[in-house]
Symmetry: C2
Subunit: 351 residues, 2 copies
DNA sequence: AGGTACCGTGGGAGCGCTCCCACAGGTGAT
DNA sequence: ATCACCTGTGGGAGCGCTCCCACGGTACCT
């Protein structure tokens, strides 16, 4: 029978066929039991399960993937350099949420960085080979071609932080606009008059929405909006430091700052210190994300909490639904799903 | 021909067979070209490559895995909770080194956390299914059953930081003993007399070796070793803070501290500050790892550099060799490979 | 001329699954 | 008794590759 000869049969892992023989049933029946089909009698199921246990049978993933044309894996694609991934708690929180949501599943999670051109090249190859059933995309910039590539390949994908209001992919996001409003309203409520804003990367839609929220909240509070109070940052600590320094130079009379992320706020704090401003006595500071940084800052940072882990969960739910749905290859786009989760202001000593 | 009917042929991705037809050659020949076999004439190779390009052929991983009985994937297993992974630069540096070494390869890297029992359960299942060709194991504790499980399953594995001097798995490590000596000799050279040591987790072999190096260097310098100067830590910041506080209480006369990691040193620094000790005027501080933390600390931290990224590279090299070797299932253990890389002291303002 | 050696090549068999068709046996309506 | 229709089951065919054997051709010996 054996033709490949030296490929080490005998000692190898048991196959479906062997389990079937052991249980005295057919191959198909074992497959049904393994995959939890309801169309199996209780007695047969028990017999098969016993055989599986005795033989220590574990399904061969490659064979399953080949036959069923699915991989049981999804990728979390981070279009940023690894350093950024480790520096910003946003990503690790997201990873945790996603991981938790997936732990009830057979799905495997792959973490893929696509910061450099080289890495993107690899990723394109990877996706073309359909090595994952679906993709989670976090932190995408406005002009990123990745989402379109995914659409073209017809790979289910969910994006966290849509690229624009007209995002075509299924997306999950927190209410950036509302969160920014909460921050500003909080500062106004504390009697602050001159409230500056250090933005995030301007090519990120969420950062734009935060600017909108900041502007509208100021206007509604009857404060005159002054673009000299807005300074672009890039979500990094160094960017926050630089922006804060610029703002202090331009508007030394400011008495509050709303930073687009906690990391940015950390940089701003540093610049404020160097300029001799006390927090919150001279300048109140509010961040965004409510990450570990906010809790450990000195003084502890008031911050807008986005439910990042919940967002991760939601992304998984939506993605798995799309993967399971996978029937109508054309009926997409009709009911685009955009999910927005509420934010919450967490007050601390910095404001 | 088609029997599965609705499984969407036609529009699908091209197969080897189709490429072969297009190039006017046999299936085997295309396979040889794809896999870079030298036994193909230049003309044939060119024809096949053209066909591959025209059709946009991408090999089906699942089919390959099934036929060749390999997965082209390896796992980086972190037997720690995710939080630890993100908090300690050691892991991210290692990941970077491993990733870089792998980027020249077709191999895919999977990052797997096995901190909780639940996760370990999953991992066991995962390994039993042979879903990776090899495993990289970082930060393993003395009594961890994981390495033995790997041996039993005959899965090639490389461990960073052997469990003991008698480690049976192939291992890569830095010279913990020598590194500790360097740190102590440096402090002695600076005229410090009473040098304390905050250890790492005592169930980690490398931490033990650092204690040995510390002890021997002190002895060789003619300083009396005093176990009251040794306080156990756990590589964490909080552990460092606690240990430092205990040491200050016990030996208020100490004038130098060698901490088993930079993160630990950061904790120690905090405790020293709180106790009103100046660094380095009152107490000199030396860390271990030379991570980003060391450079950014105030004052910048003298630290023992382990070439972590190089270690990652080395681990990959050794692992890939084992995976490729895969012939003698019994001849293991004869020439156990233990690789040790040199450390280097990086002097900064803290000492 | 015949023999031996070694290319480069084609294609059969098989990897371990899933999918689906066929079929036996039971049930209830006609 | 006949038909229709369920449910549970067995097993063929096929997923797209790799491995290997066999074969024709050329090159170099005797």
């Amino acid at each position: 029978m054996a033709s490949h000869g030296a490929r080490g049969r005998s000692g190898g892992r048991p196959t479906l066929e062997e389990v079937a023989a052991r249980a005295g049933v057919g191959r198909g029946t074992v497959s049904r039991v393994i995959n939890g089909s309801p169309r199996v009698s209780d007695a047969t199921r028990a017999a098969v399960e016993a055989a599986v246990a005795e033989l220590g049978y574990v399904p061969n993933t490659a064979a399953r993937a080949l036959a069923a044309n699915r991989t049981d894996a999804i990728a979390l694609v981070v279009p940023e350099p690894e350093t950024r991934f480790f520096a910003e708690p946003y990503f690790s929180d997201m990873l945790r949420g996603v991981g938790a949501a997936l732990s009830d599943t057979e799905m495997q999670l792959l973490l893929i960085f696509a910061g450099s051109d080289r890495e993107r090249q690899r990723l394109a190859q990877y996706l073309a080979a359909h090595r994952v059933d679906g993709v989670l995309l976090v932190s995408v910039h406005a002009d990123d071609p990745l989402p379109d590539m995914l659409s073209q390949l017809e790979i289910p994908a969910v994006i966290s932080g849509p690229r624009s209001a007209a995002e075509t992919l299924t997306s999950v996001d927190s209410d950036n606009y509302g969160g920014a409003r909460q921050a500003v309203e909080h500062l106004v409520g504390r009697g602050r008059r001159t409230i500056a804003h250090i933005t995030g990367r301007l090519d990120v839609y969420g950062a734009q929405r935060r600017i909108d929220g900041y502007r509208d909240a100021l206007r509604d509070a009857g404060h005159e909006a002054d673009d000299l109070l807005i300074e672009p940052g890039d979500f990094s600590e160094e960017g926050g430091r630089r922006a804060m320094a610029a703002l202090l130079e331009r508007r030394p009379d400011l008495d509050a700052v709303f930073a687009a992320s906690d990391v940015t706020a950390a940089g701003a704090r540093q610049a404020l210190r160097e300029a001799g401003r006390r927090i919150p006595d001279d300048v109140a500071l509010v961040g965004y994300d409510d990450s570990a940084i906010a809790r450990h800052m000195d003084p502890p940072l008031t911050s807008v909490r986005q439910p990042i882990q919940e967002m991760g969960r939601a992304m998984i739910d939506l993605l798995l639904a799309e993967v399971a749905d996978r029937r109508p290859p054309a009926s997409r786009g009709l009911e685009r799903r955009q999910m927005v989760l509420a934010t919450e202001l967490v007050g601390r000593a910095s404001s």
